[in-house]
C-alpha cells in the first residue's frame, strides 16, 4: 500500500480541494481511495458537490473533523488521506443514514458478522435524540457473533455547533449522513490496534445508583451526583466545565476483567450530570486525573507496544478525543509526533467527539471518551 496525507487550509472549500488535488497529482498517477476530513467552517451542503467536481469519479468518504491530523500537523481546514493498493488490498464502504435499534442495527450486525475477516473503520455522527451512537455501539457489540472483536475502530466526527445543530456529518455517494455512520472496510490488510487512556484512577469506588442515557442522577445510597460535582467545582473556584476534563470519571468494568472506560462531563445540571457516552446503573467508577505528561507517557507506551507487533506499518490512523486535546494543552502536537516518530509512517486522524474501539481484552466494542486510539496497518 502506498498511502500519504495532504492538507490545505484555504478558506474556500473549492480552492482547498483544488490545492489538495494539485499536491496529490504530484505524487500519485492513480489511487484507489480518498478519505477527507473537512472542518465544519465549510458549508456542509457543498462538500459532496465540490469533491465530485474536483476529483471526478474518485471513490471517497468525507467527514467533519474540527481539526485533523496530517503526519505531525494539526490542520484546521481540509485534509486528505490517499490510499493506493499495490498488492491485494481493497476498500469497500457501508453506511447507515439513520441509526435505529431495529432495521439499521440488524443491517449493521449482519454486515459486520458477514465481513469478520475485514478491518472496519467506522466514522459516525452523534445519532439522534431517540438513538444515540453510544447506545447503538453497545447494542451492536452484544450482537456480534465472533471473538475477539479486534477489527473495528473509529471515531465520532467533530465540528462546530450552529443553532443547536452539531455539524458532525459524513459524506458519501452524494449523501450527507447526519444521524448515522460510514464504515470503511479494508480487505487483505494486516493491522494492529492500540488504546491509550492515560488517566490514572484515584481513591475509593462509587456506584451509579440512577442513570439514564448519558446521564448520572445519583450514586451510592442515593446521593445526587450533581451535588458532588458542584461541590468539586466550587473548590476549583471556576465554572468552566472543561477543567473537569482533567479529572474524568473512570469506569471499572469488573465483569470484563477490570477493563476501563473514561467518561467526560458534558454538562452539569441541577438533577444530573451529562456525559459524552452511555452510563449504566450499578456501574462502578472512580475519579481520575491526567495531565499532558501522564497522557504522553501512556501514548509512548502504546506506540511502542504497537511497534513491537507491527514494526513497519504503511499507514497510521489516530482517533483522539477533543477533550484529551484540552488536557494536552500546548503539547497537542506531541501526541502525533510521538506516534509518527515511533511508528515511522504517515498518520491521518482527527479530534473526535468520542472514540469507537474494542475494550482492552477485545471482547466488546466501546464508545470511549478522552482516549487516543491508534491503528497501524499494512497491505498483505
Amino acid at each position: 500500500m502506498i498511502a500519504k496525507v495532504f492538507k490545505s487550509t484555504d478558506n474556500s472549500l473549492l480552492f482547498a480541494l483544488e490545492n489538495l488535488k494539485e499536491e496529490i497529482e504530484k505524487e500519485f498517477n492513480s489511487f484507489d481511495f480518498l478519505i477527507f476530513s473537512v472542518h465544519s467552517k465549510y458549508d456542509y451542503n457543498d462538500i459532496n458537490y465540490y469533491i465530485k467536481k474536483v476529483f471526478k469519479n474518485a471513490d471517497y468518504v468525507a467527514f467533519n473533523g474540527i481539526d485533523s491530523f496530517v503526519d505531525n500537523s494539526i490542520v484546521e481546514g481540509v485534509s486528505c488521506c490517499v490510499i493506493k493498493f499495490v498488492k491485494d488490498g481493497k476498500i469497500s464502504t457501508f453506511f447507515i443514514e439513520d441509526i435505529s435499534f431495529d432495521n439499521s442495527l440488524k443491517q449493521t450486525v449482519d454486515y459486520l458478522n458477514e465481513n469478520k475477516e475485514k478491518l472496519h473503520i467506522i466514522i459516525g455522527s452523534l445519532g439522534s435524540n431517540k438513538v444515540k451512537i453510544g447506545e447503538f455501539i453497545e447494542k451492536l457489540s452484544l450482537k456480534l457473533n465472533y471473538q475477539p472483536v479486534n477489527n473495528i475502530i473509529g471515531g465520532i466526527s467533530s465540528g462546530i455547533i450552529n443553532d443547536n445543530e452539531a455539524i458532525v456529518y459524513q459524506y458519501i455517494d452524494n449523501r450527507i449522513i447526519k444521524n448515522g455512520f460510514v464504515i470503511l472496510s479494508f480487505e487483505n490488510v494486516s493491522y494492529e490496534i492500540g488504546i491509550s487512556l492515560g488517566f490514572k484512577p484515584y481513591g475509593i469506588t462509587y456506584e451509579v445508583k440512577k442513570a439514564d442515557d448519558y446521564k448520572i442522577y445519583s450514586i451510592d445510597d442515593g446521593k445526587k451526583f450533581s451535588d458532588v460535582i458542584k461541590n468539586f467545582m466550587e473548590k476549583i473556584d471556576n465554572k468552566d466545565i472543561r477543567y473537569l476534563w482533567y479529572t474524568p470519571i473512570y469506569f471499572l468494568d469488573e465483569t470484563d476483567g477490570y477493563v476501563a472506560t473514561i467518561r467526560t462531563i458534558k454538562d452539569v445540571k441541577e438533577e444530573y450530570i451529562e456525559f459524552f457516552g452511555p452510563i449504566k446503573r450499578h456501574q462502578k467508577f472512580k475519579f481520575s486525573f491526567g495531565d499532558s505528561e501522564i497522557l504522553l507517557e501512556e501514548d509512548k507506551r502504546n506506540a511502542l507496544d504497537l511497534k513491537e507487533k507491527m514494526p513497519y506499518p504503511e499507514l497510521i490512523f489516530n482517533f483522539s478525543c477533543i477533550a484529551r486535546q484540552y488536557v494536552l494543552e500546548d503539547k497537542q502536537k506531541e501526541e502525533i509526533e510521538l506516534y509518527t516518530s515511533i511508528l515511522n509512517a504517515h498518520l491521518f486522524g482527527f479530534f473526535t467527539f468520542g472514540e469507537i474501539g474494542p475494550d482492552k481484552n477485545f471482547k466488546k466494542l466501546k464508545l470511549y471518551n478522552e482516549t487516543s486510539l491508534l491503528l497501524a496497518l499494512e497491505e498483505k
Binding site: 475509593i204 482533567y246 475519579f287 486525573f289
Partner: protein, 202 residues
C-alpha cells in the same frame, strides 16, 4: 493559570477522596456496631441476650480466679402470671409488657451491672461486688415497682439469687460454675415463688 487550576483540581480530588473514605469508614463502623448489637442483644427488649450473659459470666469467673476478692451475684427474675396475659390480651400486649419490664430493670440497676433476658418471661441480672443487704432490699423494691406498674394485669415477680464464690465450692470447671450459679438462682426463684403462693393460700 492552568497550573494553579490543576493544583486546585488535585486538592479537590484529594478532599473528595478523603471524604468518601471517611464516609465509608463511618458506614462500616455503623454496620459493625449494628452487627454487634444484633449478635449480643435480645431483639424484643434490647437487653443483652442469654449467650452474651453467659460469656460475660465466663469472663467474670476467669477474672475472679485471678483476683480472689472478686464477688458477684446472679439474680434470676421471673414474671408471675405472665402466661395469662398472653392468653387473655394477646401476644402483642405480652411483648409490650416484657419491653416495659426490661426498661424498669435497666433503670433499677447500675450501669456496671448486666441485665439480660434469659428467655420467655425470665431475666438474669449479674451484679458485681454486691452488698447483700442491697440484694435483699432489691427483691421487695423490684416487686413493688412491677406490681404497681402492672396492677391492672395482676403481674408480680419471683426473684432468686446465687452468689460467687459463696455458693460455689470445690467446682473448678468454668462452664460448670456457670450452670451451678444459674441453677441455684433458678431454684431459689422457684422457692420464692412457692413461698409467696403458699403465703397467699394460707
Amino acid at each position: 493559570m492552568r497550573e494553579k487550576i490543576k493544583i486546585k483540581i488535585l486538592q479537590a480530588l484529594l478532599e473528595e477522596v478523603t471524604k468518601k473514605y471517611d464516609d465509608s469508614i463511618t458506614e462500616k463502623e455503623k454496620l459493625l456496631q449494628k452487627m454487634f448489637e444484633m449478635a449480643v442483644n435480645d431483639s424484643l427488649t434490647g437487653l443483652y441476650n442469654r449467650q452474651y450473659m453467659q460469656n460475660y459470666l465466663l469472663n467474670l469467673i476467669k477474672k475472679a480466679k485471678r483476683n480472689k476478692n472478686e464477688k458477684f451475684a446472679v439474680i434470676f427474675l421471673d414474671l408471675d402470671n405472665f402466661k395469662s396475659i398472653n392468653d387473655s390480651f394477646g401476644h402483642n400486649k405480652g411483648d409490650e409488657i416484657l419491653k416495659e419490664v426490661a426498661n424498669i430493670l435497666k433503670n433499677s440497676f447500675r450501669e456496671c451491672d448486666l441485665v439480660s433476658r434469659y428467655g420467655g418471661d425470665e431475666f438474669v441480672i449479674i451484679v458485681e461486688n454486691p452488698s447483700f443487704e442491697v440484694l435483699d432490699n432489691l427483691k421487695s423494691r423490684l416487686r413493688n415497682i412491677i406490681e404497681t406498674e402492672f396492677k391492672d394485669f395482676g403481674i408480680s415477680v419471683s426473684i432468686g439469687f446465687s452468689c460467687f464464690p459463696k455458693d460455689i465450692s470445690n467446682v473448678k470447671d468454668e462452664e460448670e460454675i456457670i450452670n451451678k450459679l444459674l441453677t441455684i438462682a433458678d431454684n431459689r426463684m422457684y422457692e420464692n415463688k412457692k413461698e409467696r403462693k403458699d403465703k397467699k393460700l394460707s
